[in-house]
């Protein structure tokens, strides 16, 4: 049984006094660096300490993230802790980015500020290995507290841990905690406050602590460090499973099933199918609500403000643009919530091995599967979830190819183009639709294969992972993680994505064009017949609006750019109207359908599922020569291939930049995918034309 002191869960903090409020009444904030091995419940403890008073921050110069939170150190509130939840590391001395951040923080080097104290979360069921990191951190001589977490699991495994003896052995206070239940949290704060007060008193008297001095000589020799850890465990841990090699039949049976070549794959497929069904089913309702809220808001602004540029900017540019991005928030939140739950159970580590067998052939690790699968819903959460991948090259390769996966925004385009190609043969249209998904996935995997042999040279490293214990997921941690990712996404949507939306809206809305003479004539005619035949008048007004809308798009900057860029797309079979459609869809792919509807039929509210006649009207539209259809078979096929492969999503570019820490990778993604799409569409169009398909 885990033993704790009768009056407190804290051991080893003798003769200490809590950090009392300063007489001057000034508020004091103390920086606490939170360290721990992966899978020790570090983030759960952080959430218990800081709750919602936390935000995600990027470390300068690297893409790794940390959460920074605040909590009062005592009831007086005069002293507060600023806690930095650092990435989980096994050792400080490892040459991996996460360990480098830890070293820099402890040394206060580069742009980092040295903490006032260190809190180390240690897995009570795996003490010896966790103590390596404790030893390395103690050598830095800062006030240190060890949170001995998951003591409930240790009890269940039959371990008895004498926290007082452990504290004596390692030379710093040890607090027994069960972070997921909130046990020992107050004691952790008390111990930190006491250690800091002790340290300040001792530093004035003696300088460097004897514990730090002794640890420096121990960590210099790996054998000594291991003996120190083993000896500390031997002195303080008892029970049948003290040496940690007791058999765990339950874990072994689950591992056997989850990592089995066939059964493991089936279980994984089932879990992923369930996960994405939940995402698609459950996200629909909040997505519809968001769309409606932004729609109503846009209409209200348009009706309330005086007509003019400001009205257009707010109603269409700002509200319309942000609404089109924020609509993906429910999918993102659900994905991260479910992934967090799965990760917490310990299953994802096993699933990574199942997929590794397939993915490693293309230079990707098994962990890339979840981001790539998520990208079929939307590339934004897919790219954001690539954080699960520990190796930087593996992560970059995954991010670069994720937008090849056919996301839900491509669906309206696929519907339009497959209907153009196979209007009378729906089974062929369905086959083509499925082929689009296959083509995107194949292009992504082949591109990853190429990237790992060129710019991200090196094979995906053979996978080696710690397999954490199976446990019930912590709902609270999953909720906090979801909230955090949601806020990161909203921040992105509210800044860079908003700016992009405004620019694209402006390009497609300005300069405002005068109504064409045909439209003016139609409106005059409508006015004449209004009293005699209101229905005919309404039809004439609709026709006039169609002409005005089409004319405005042609005269806009985007329209002019379309005409200017048309020669570049001529080899793919696109006229100036299709070129405008392709260019405007860089804001978001689905914009292609509404652009085509506006340009070719003048109906900006086109909905292909609600209005089947719309496809016929688009199909019947002709080019400037008034005889050649805009959508020939070869052109439709070429467009379909182009849309499967092209990087036409500026919000995705913004998220790539954020996740890779550089515009370089976002630029490369855009250039590479655009070139691949152009070449593939060129081959398709020219090939079909040569075969006589037109």
């Amino acid at each position: 049984m885990t033993r704790v002191s009768p009056d407190s869960a804290t051991a080893g903090a003798q003769a200490a006094s809590p950090a009392a409020p300063r007489p001057t009444g000034e508020r004091r904030s103390l920086r606490i660096a939170l360290f721990g091995n992966p899978n020790t419940g570090k983030t759960t403890l952080f959430n218990r300490l800081c709750g919602l008073r936390a935000k995600t921050a990027n470390f300068p110069g690297v893409t790794a993230e940390a959460r920074v939170g605040h909590c009062p150190a005592d009831r007086h509130g005069a002293v507060s802790f600023e806690i930095i939840d650092l990435p989980g590391i096994y050792r400080l001395a490892l040459e991996v980015p996460e360990s480098r951040i830890g070293r820099d923080i402890m040394q206060g080097s580069a742009l980092y500020q040295r903490p006032d104290a260190v809190l180390i979360v240690v897995d009570a069921t795996n003490l010896a290995r966790n103590l390596f990191l404790v030893g390395e951190l103690l050598a830095h001589g800062l006030p240190t507290v060890v949170a001995l977490n998951m003591t409930d699991l240790a009890q269940r495994k039959g371990l008895t841990i004498d926290t007082a003896e452990l504290a004596r052995q390692i030379g710093c206070p040890v607090v027994a905690t069960v972070a997921r239940k909130g046990t020992g949290i107050a004691e952790v704060k008390d111990a930190l406050a006491r250690e800091i007060a002790n340290f300040e008193a001792m530093s004035r008297a003696r300088g460097i602590s004897p514990v730090a001095e002794s640890m420096r000589s121990i960590i210099a020799d790996p054998v000594k460090l291991e003996s120190w850890a083993d000896q500390s465990v031997a002195s303080s841990v008892g029970g049948d499973a003290a040496i940690g090699d007791a058999s765990d039949t339950f874990t072994e049976r689950l591992d056997k099933a989850f990592t089995h070549p066939i059964l493991g794959l089936l279980i994984f497929a089932g879990i992923m199918a369930g996960l994405f069904t939940i995402i698609f089913q459950m996200a629909t309702i909040p997505m519809d609500i968001i769309e409606q809220v932004f729609g109503v808001l846009g209409e209200w602004v348009a009706a309330t403000l005086p007509a003019g540029a400001i009205n257009d900017l707010l109603a269409q540019g700002v509200i319309g643009g942000v609404g089109a991005t924020v609509v993906f928030l429910p999918q993102i939140c659900l994905l991260f919530f479910l992934i967090s739950l799965l990760e917490d159970t310990g299953y994802l580590a096993r699933a990574a091995f199942v997929m590794d067998r397939i993915m490693c052939r293309f230079g990707l690790p098994g962990q890339a599967f979840v981001p790539l699968l998520s990208s079929h819903a939307c590339a934004l959460p897919g790219i954001m979830s690539a954080k699960l991948i520990p190796d930087r090259h593996d992560r970059l390769a995954t991010i670069l190819v994720a937008p090849f996966m056919s996301c839900s925004a491509r669906v309206p385009v696929y519907v339009l183009l497959t209907s153009m190609l196979f209007r009378e043969r729906p089974w062929l249209a369905g086959l083509a639709f499925f082929g689009c998904y296959l083509l995107g996935a194949a292009a992504g995997l082949v591109s990853a294969f190429i990237a790992r042999r060129t710019i991200l040279r090196g094979r995906s490293r053979p996978m080696v992972l710690e397999l954490p214990s199976y446990k019930m997921p912590a709902w609270r941690t999953a909720l906090w993680s979801t909230l955090d990712r949601g806020l990161v996404f909203l921040k992105s949507a509210g800044t860079i994505i908003l700016a992009i939306c405004i620019v694209l809206w402006w390009l497609s809305a300005y300069p405002a064009a005068q109504a064409p003479p045909e439209a003016v004539a139609l409106r005059a005619q409508a006015a004449e017949v209004q009293s005699a035949d209101p229905a005919a008048a309404a039809r004439l007004i609709t026709e006039a609006a169609t002409l005005e809308s089409s004319h405005a798009t042609r005269q806009s900057y985007a329209g002019r750019l379309g005409r200017l860029a048309q020669p570049a797309f001529a080899p793919l079979g696109y006229d100036w109207q299709l070129t405008i459609g392709v260019l405007t869809s860089f804001a978001a792919r689905e914009v292609f359908v509404s652009t085509m509807a506006v340009l070719l039929t003048g109906d900006a509210q086109a909905d292909l599922t609600e209005d089947p006649g719309m496809i016929d009207r688009i199909r019947a539209s002709t080019r400037d020569d008034l005889t050649t259809p805009v959508f020939t078979a070869a052109t439709s096929a070429s467009l379909l291939v182009f849309f499967v492969l092209a990087m036409q999503c500026l919000p995705t570019l913004a998220v790539t930049r954020r996740e890779t820490g550089s515009w370089k990778w976002a630029g490369l993604q855009l250039a590479y995918m655009s070139i691949v799409a152009w070449v593939a569409a060129f081959i398709t169009y020219q090939g079909l034309t040569l075969m006589g398909v037109s």
Partner: protein, 91 residues
Amino acid sequence: MAVSVPSASPAADPVAISLTQLGRGQCATFYKADLRCEDCEMLNAMGMTDRCQLKICKIGDPWIVQVKSTRIGMARSLAQRIFVLPPTIHP
């Protein structure tokens, strides 16, 4: 780059065998790993230290070994390049 960790020469102990030659439930002593430096360091940090005892929990792909309380899963290609000293049958 192939790195041997720990530094003992394989020639010094001709009975060292690959981890993949062990069966489920067998225990052995870690001897060396012919892997890239970063993989060796990672294994070491996970607890696979010089002469540590390890137990085979699952064979195949992945290979699962237990070192003290840590269960480590590794690709078969990696397990092939880890060498251990003769096993004893685990009770």
